[in-house]
Amino acid sequence: MEIKIRTRVIIIAAVMLLCVFGIICYPANEQEMVGFPRTFERLKENVRNRIRLGLDLRGGTHLVLQVQVEDAINVTVDLAQERLRDELKAKGIPANVEKKTEDRRTYLLITGIPQDKSGDMQTLATEQFPDWVLARRAGDPAARELSLKATAAAAIRNQALEQSKNTIRNRIDQLGVTEPTIAEYGGQSDYEVVVQLPGVDDPSRVKDIIQSTAMLTLKIVQDGPYSSREAALAAHGGILPPDAELLPGRRDTSGAGPGTEAWYLVNRIAAVTGRDLRDAQPRQDENGRPSVNFNLTRDGAVRFGRVTGQNIGKQLAIILDNRVIDAPSIQSQITDSGRISPLPTVNYASDLALVLRSGALPASIKYLEERTVGPSLGADSIRHGVVASIVGLLAVMGFMLVYYKGSGVNANLALVLNVIILVAALAYFGAVLTLPGIAGVILTVGMGVDSNVLIFERIREELRMGKTVGAAVAGGFEHAFVTIIDTHVTTIVSALILFTFGTGPIRGFAVTLTIGLLANLFTSVFVSRVIFDYVLTKREKGEAISI
């Protein structure tokens, strides 16, 4: 018996050491394996680093956004439309191609296919568009519908979501927000992303930066600028060349001021796009105006060098989100770097550089939810929460001492160990403590107290029945154990369901509850029993126990 108790005490001590180690030893940097705190300040710092508080407790911004994945589908269909037209021309099929959207389904409608070419059409579709399905259209034998296969469409959507997440993460990282969370949210087909930004209390700039498309293209100017769209059209007899498009911009003659409206006829195909950027930095141009300087990747530089070399003397349009920012003349061949100027403000330039560096979004973004907990409110919540928990815990512990006397010490010890294990487990798992999480802790503490009360009441009952102290303790634990297992397993089962199917706040609750109840099984059944057994061995024969 004596040895058995010693082994059990060692197990308990080992668990507690591991827990305390997890809570207070936080490595300050990557070289340091163990951050043993030598000062009180460092201790506080370590605990703060270890116990990560949710945004609702420490302040920050919580955004839920939806990636409009249909944008990516649209782009794919647009590209396919261009390609299909070329292919039809090459195969000599005189048919029309139109893009159609009906109840969230986007497809290409091909009309006017001659009877004898329908076989060629089918072959073309199978060979050149393997990800697509060609179907007859009801009511028109000369028409076909070319639509994306469901699997291909799903892949495009998921890729758009993945890429958006990466781009958003890049942008937020560049903003220097510490410990941001960017994760998928909601159901599979919702394409929602949750973004949590601790410490950010004015989300408007971050939101703009996340949302910004910042589609950069550099295109050779064919003609212009014209003072209006109509003037540009008139100069070309009302019809634009097929390889060109008309884009608005501003002509800035003086080098300062807003300039006048201008329309440029530019090549449809871009010489360089944002994807070819290696780096972008905010700078000032020679007139002291804000600008962004950029460098190109090796591939981009080769292409840019070729295009600029062939077009010396012509204008190069710098186009951002389909607006011409500037159209300088090409003086000589340019290879790997360029400049976007003039930009309205220094802040605009630095945000634009950031967005260009982080890559383009494949689809637009819609905000669904925005919550900002001001840091002052977060501080208040923490203070209140700590005060309330301490008052509550002290009241419970004080009562246990009065009601169960010596055994109350036992129960309180079990309760404290329970909380320590719970906190340590949260630290080890890197879980975040939120308000609903605290709800889980409260239920844990409630059930922890309950376990001890169940055991003690049972022991008292057994004593009343006239059993010896040893038999009463053994009987009490044995009987209460069945009940404790049933209550705990029932609650853990429900917590697992909540964790599996719930999101966000519900999950936070489930995590602390599950960990807490497992810890409680250990403390109230195992630890309490060891303490009782220890007391029993030290006891004089026939002496009563304090319960």
Binding site: V373, G374, L377, L435, F501
Partner: protein, 408 residues
Amino acid sequence: MEFFHEPKIDWMGKKWYLIGLSTTLMVAGLVSIAVHRGLIYGIDFRGGTLVYVKFSKQPDLDAIRSELKRVHLGEATIQRYGAAQDDEVIIGLDLGTTASADALDAGKRAIVGALAGLFGVGPAGKVDFNNASPQTVAEHLVVGDPLRLAFKGTDEALTGYRELSEALVNFRNSPPHSGLIADLQELRAVTGVTPAVLEALGKDFYLSQYAVRNTEIVGPKVGGDLRKQALYVTLAALAAMLVYIWFRFELIYGVAAVIATFHDVLITLGIFSLLNKEISLTVIAALLTLVGYSMNDTIVVFDRIRENLRLTKRENILDLVNRSINQTLSRTILTSGLTFLAVLSLYLFGGEVIHGFAFTLVIGVIIGTYSSIAIASPILVSFYQRVGQNRIGVKPRVYEREAAGTRR
């Protein structure tokens, strides 16, 4: 010390009073919900905008209301919260009035704009310190350079002023200021602040009489999703518990426990409706806690019933259930009393954010305990009586065997 020494209360003899009380509470709650045309959902579920504002002195709510009306936010709700001396107000806008799909934060901007209009925008060219971020403060300090850090190099100066600004803003945000200071001189308490710093701050900043402490904007989709999810997940959890209890006890125990728990949730929601309280996300967390607590309490009683059924061969089911409740009564009162103590402390000292949460638990602990005795146990008794063909006074043999059978 002992509160109850072997109580002998005829609980099941009073079961009609208890069931009557429960029915009354449930009906009252349901009527209230019907009259309100549903529960009052918070912004989390309804969608809309909430802006929490703290004022430096007691705000004139009528002035705020008329200013909001002037900028066409007449539907906005204005309500005080927290302690009276905190001078805090929540301004809320429903989804219908503000949210367009493109500009989720239109409502927030309108409210903040109205407040700025009402309290003035401060002296020309000056920035409001009470609503400034550390970055803004740092930017101004770098330009003013009151500590003469510029000669050490730009980076040095930037770091120095950033740290100072964070200290200043932290001071402003921490209690007792809670986001609002009335006089820049208060900042003298911050380490590193010299009269030159205060002077530089005074040149660039003014102090407004309000600070926005918290904003919540929830779009229509999120609200609906959350509501559905909370419901389905709770039902799934209840079903899982039913299956487990079925496995450990018998089906009827699971059914009785789930009905009792359901009864608790229903009454709690009814009380929320009767008191015109909003159901927010934290209330849902509290309801989940209540489900767990109520279930726990019921299982403790059931466990004793199961044990007594096994041990005692010649006892009427009514007496047996009464005895089981009485045997566990001491534990029940103690546990729920202590849990009540803990959640009451949360309710009294926990602060504004967890008020709704703590309130739910204060009610929940009482009802969860009560339902084990008043709802779950009578269901069990009437089942045994019905299937036992009213052989009162005779040992319910059939169930005895079943109970023992499932145990293995």
